[in-house]
């Protein structure tokens, strides 16, 4: 899966899980820290679970850091890498 495709999917999931983000376009938020938009810890966990369910990756604690989860960009890059390494 390509990063652009992943980003679109992530954005869709985020809007469903945290409607407060609907006031921003993907371009406005993709490179910014999700925390800076006030996403709380439970919101982030719900987002992570939805990503697993909808995109089909599993978060590996050894490969997932706070930097991985910082922004939509970093999450998309991580997912792209995970898909690449499975090939």
């Amino acid at each position: 899966m390509r990063k652009e495709e992943i980003l679109q999917q992530l954005y869709g999931i985020l809007l469903r899980k945290s409607p407060a983000f609907s006031q921003y376009t993907l371009e406005q938020i993709q490179g910014e820290s999700l925390n800076s938009f006030g996403l709380d810890s439970i919101g982030l966990l719900n987002f992570m679970v939805a990503i697993e369910d909808e995109i089909g990756i599993e978060w590996d604690e050894d490969r997932t850091t706070s930097e991985t989860l910082k922004s939509l960009n970093s999450i998309a890059e991580h997912i792209e890498h995970e898909f690449e390494s499975v090939k």
């Binding site: 899980k17 409607p19 800076s36 938009f37 006030g38 709380d40 439970i42 966990l45 697993e52 978060w59």
Partner: protein
């Protein structure tokens, strides 16, 4: 069981820790991720942390930001038995909150894993042990308040407060041992038990249920490592096969809906949660899926655990622990929805550490009962039923949040004329909602300010900005009308 009883009733926590570590030396004491301590290792780390704390003068207070890792357990134990006095705080507090707490509680020292904890205040590193760094914080004398440290205080923990800031509660070693003892008696933790704790150790849910009752039984404590998501939790469940699970309601909610976790993944005999409102439908769904009820108990930071829930009556928080007494105070006309709960235990706090009003003694009635802000009654079967709060404290997934703290912060924005913070359900989840009265304000500005100052769990997830609030004829905010937005 005989030795466990003796460890609790020795009257000397340090000796009991030493004896239990000797007795269970080769057994696993605590695991986090891939790392473990045996009881022998635990003793060595405990002793090392005691020496580490001696870098500080005797009876000096030190704020301790605990992470959830294996070395936090010996740090907690060493802190409680040392002559220094640790104040165990929330690991998600940010710099501004930490500085306020230090000043308010007359504390110049701070233990944390962070490399550069302060940008706004000078500090010096005094030492390091297993990733924990000890800092001296150079707070100006005129900003450091006097504290009220009592001779019998062994440690402190925090409570959310109701007037805009957290209060620091002082506890004796005896109170800590008492809380652990009566919890152990009710929960019957044994050497063969594996206790999987998904709460941060500073929180009462873990502090009172997962430390001494595990330690003195020679049981095995597994602390969750990583994100609290089903895939991560499943790995730990399969690796350690816990018999006791301790978690906040949102974790149970996640596990109920997680297809990847099935009944065969759990071999629990006890599932414990805090008295946050766990939806009845969720309790039923959990029981149906996993074949065991959730023991949702009642406890308050100021007094410790008060009940133990065997699940014999739905919608209740169980029967009083042996060391707890309860009374109810009339609130007049609204008694039909429950009276004020007054509770007394042998694990109560001694006093607040800070000297602000109200004093802790004002919350204790002449018979020694803590005057809570909870309403409830005892059912016909003798179980405690919680019916609501008297104050505005918000409980979200087991975390108590003082709305006044958030309101005061948002009011610092110059164009804001009023703020009202409450709880709201958004997408079937309880979140903090901030209703803001003013002009020329946007949600982004409000969020940025909150993110800068407040711990993540206090940040409003719903923000509504209005030019004017709906008000009564006397000018009071009509909260009911506001909350319709």
């Amino acid at each position: 069981m005989h030795n466990t009883f003796n460890y609790f009733n020795s009257g000397n926590l340090h000796n009991s820790i030493v004896q239990t570590c000797l007795e269970f030396a080769v057994y696993p004491a605590v695991t986090c991720g891939a790392e473990s301590y045996s009881y022998a290792d635990l003793f060595n780390e405990y002793y090392s942390f005691q020496q580490f704390l001696k870098l500080l003068p005797e009876r000096e207070t030190v704020l301790v930001k605990l992470s959830n890792k294996k070395s936090s357990l010996p740090l907690i134990l060493a802190g409680i038995t040392a002559s220094q006095v640790p104040l165990f705080c929330d690991p998600v507090w940010k710099e501004e909150e930490i500085l306020k707490i230090l000043k308010r509680n007359g504390t110049r020292y701070y233990i944390t894993e962070e490399e550069n904890p302060f940008g706004a205040c000078a500090y010096a590193r005094m030492g390091e042990k297993t990733g924990y760094k000890l800092y001296q914080v150079f707070i100006p004398e005129d900003e450091l308040e006097q504290n009220n440290l009592l001779p019998e205080t062994a440690f402190c923990r925090f409570t959310s407060g109701t007037t805009g800031f957290s209060r620091c509660l002082q506890f004796s070693e005896k109170a800590f041992m008492s809380a652990g003892y009566y919890w152990w008696r009710a929960s019957a933790v044994k050497h063969k038990d594996v206790v999987y704790c998904l709460s941060t150790l500073n929180n009462g849910l873990a502090f009172n249920t997962s430390i001494l009752s595990v330690l003195f039984s020679g049981a095995h404590l597994v602390i969750h490592n990583g994100n609290l998501i089903p895939s991560s939790i499943k790995k730990t469940l399969l690796a350690h096969k816990p018999s006791i699970l301790i978690a906040f309601p949102f974790v149970y909610e996640q596990l109920i809906h997680a297809d990847k976790i099935t009944r065969s993944d759990l071999q629990l005999r006890l599932a414990i949660s805090s008295a946050a409102p766990l939806k009845e439908a969720s309790s039923h769904a959990w029981e149906e899926k996993f074949g065991i009820g959730i023991c949702n108990y009642y406890g308050i930071a100021e007094v410790g655990p008060c009940t133990f829930n065997t699940g014999d009556e739905t919608g209740t928080l169980g029967k009083l622990l042996e060391n707890a007494d309860i009374e109810f105070e009339s609130l007049g006309e609204s008694d039909s929805i429950g009276k004020r709960i007054l509770v007394r235990t042998t694990s109560m706090a001694l006093a607040y550490l800070d000297t602000h009003e109200p004093a802790f003694a004002e919350r204790i009635n002449p018979d020694g009962y803590y005057i809570s802000n909870d309403r409830g009654f005892i059912s016909l079967l003798g179980n405690l039923v919680l019916t609501g709060r008297i104050d505005r404290t918000i409980n979200i997934e087991g975390r108590k949040i003082d709305p006044v703290e958030i309101e005061n912060l948002i009011k610092t924005i110059s164009t804001v004329t009023d703020v009202y913070v409450s709880k709201k359900q958004v997408q079937s989840r309880d979140v903090i909602a901030a209703y803001i009265e003013g002009n020329g304000i946007d949600a982004e500005t409000v969020t940025k300010l909150c993110v800068k100052v407040l711990a993540q769990y206090k940040i409003p997830q719903y923000i509504k900005i209005l030019e004017t609030f709906p008000r009564s004829s006397t000018g009071k905010v009509s909260a009911g009308l506001l909350e319709i937005y």
